[in-house]
Symmetry: C2
Subunit: 235 residues, 2 copies
Amino acid sequence: MAEKAAKSGMRAQAVHRALKRAILDQALAPGSKLPEDSIGERLGVSRTLVREALVRLSEEGLVEMRPNKGAVVARPSLEEGRHLFAARLALERLVVESLSGQLTAPQEKQLLEHIAAEEAARGRDESTSIRLAGEFHTLLASMTGNAVVIRYVNELVARSSLILALYGRPHSSECAVSEHREILESLKVRDTANAVRLMLHHLESITTRALLPREQGGDIRDVLASYAAAEGLGS
Amino acid sequence: MAEKAAKSGMRAQAVHRALKRAILDQALAPGSKLPEDSIGERLGVSRTLVREALVRLSEEGLVEMRPNKGAVVARPSLEEGRHLFAARLALERLVVESLSGQLTAPQEKQLLEHIAAEEAARGRDESTSIRLAGEFHTLLASMTGNAVVIRYVNELVARSSLILALYGRPHSSECAVSEHREILESLKVRDTANAVRLMLHHLESITTRALLPREQGGDIRDVLASYAAAEGLGS
DNA sequence: GCGGGGCAGTTTGCATGCAACGGGGGATGT
DNA sequence: ACATCCCCCGTTGCATGCAAACTGCCCCGC
């Protein structure tokens, strides 16, 4: 079954997508080793293709390649996380500025449906919910038609899920859905300033909730827990 | 001579840098074929390493890999150029906002020296001048300490030189140096709004001069010349 | 003269083989 | 008991081999 014809040149891409998906689904947690031959054996390809996929993923910042020591799923630091969200802020600001008042009817419909799907998944399916929250941002980016922005936003959203996996509290995407809806409303009525403001607030709230949540009155053990995790210690 | 010890794991990177440099120097013009074995023979490595470098370069947008047909130096369209500069605008805005009033004395010194070098090269050495103009932007980005922004600005500046190589008029980087100096002045006195304004103006003037320069009253042959070049025609 | 089909040379796609690096664990010496 | 050294095995780094795909060319039929 499922014998994919697999034209020449498609298999490398397939390996890349398979690994990327596994990482984003956290089937491969940050820090996991990624040995070339076991992956190749599992996917039915040679180490050459696995290596090519790993090179691509390392360019995207999803895996880290340590010379002579193998590849692991990236384990970005808190500081990298802050840098990443700062870049997202800049790029997604461009996205909403480009889109404000420019959405076509089918695009509005697609966004509304996406938000509806987010609400449907909310509370029920945690991993789907997180994935959809990210995809809202990539969907917006794709509507700009700007290939460069699309690529970077995709990359940053993907890396953001690594950050949230490492440092985010559970349920940290709670209020996101309503914020998405508000952004869409402002885009529809061409209230550019408000749309930008909402997007900045949205991203900032994600960062503060996820990245620096243990500042006020937390238990010291909770603080250390995240550092321990970041250093590969602890349970 | 020049027997580089070339530790294991360094050679792939070396091939990547060599090719990147050749492309940015326009020793390899946009559209040039990049056959794996002749490159490998020339650099003294196997096709495997060349292929890895080409994959990296294609991720950076400097090379286009056509399945079963080999790699060529990227030949971005005018539209891609506009997209690229839009993204630069967004990211470099973040750069100046981050840097405004934050420059240390050594950093100011380094920037002043860089601008001096730009002025020294101006008019004398065209290719050096272009390279330094780009490096001013990457230098600013590097001073933010934000690895994500550094990476993206580097990538976008590199791709910008492809765009300028294809569509820019000669001498299009004329006024850039004084604009660089103005930006630095505003950063020093923490006039953030002005620094942002100057940077936006600077990048916009590059795009309009380079990307859409043939709108007003040009000779039809000049207009077609760029399209011919873009299609691999003409002399 | 002109268009189409097929053959040969060239180049990519991918697997595999071999050497070298690194890590873990046991043996050895103090 | 503890530290050190060294060997062995697993894994990576890279070259090479082989099959498939593309290119251009020539020959043949019209």
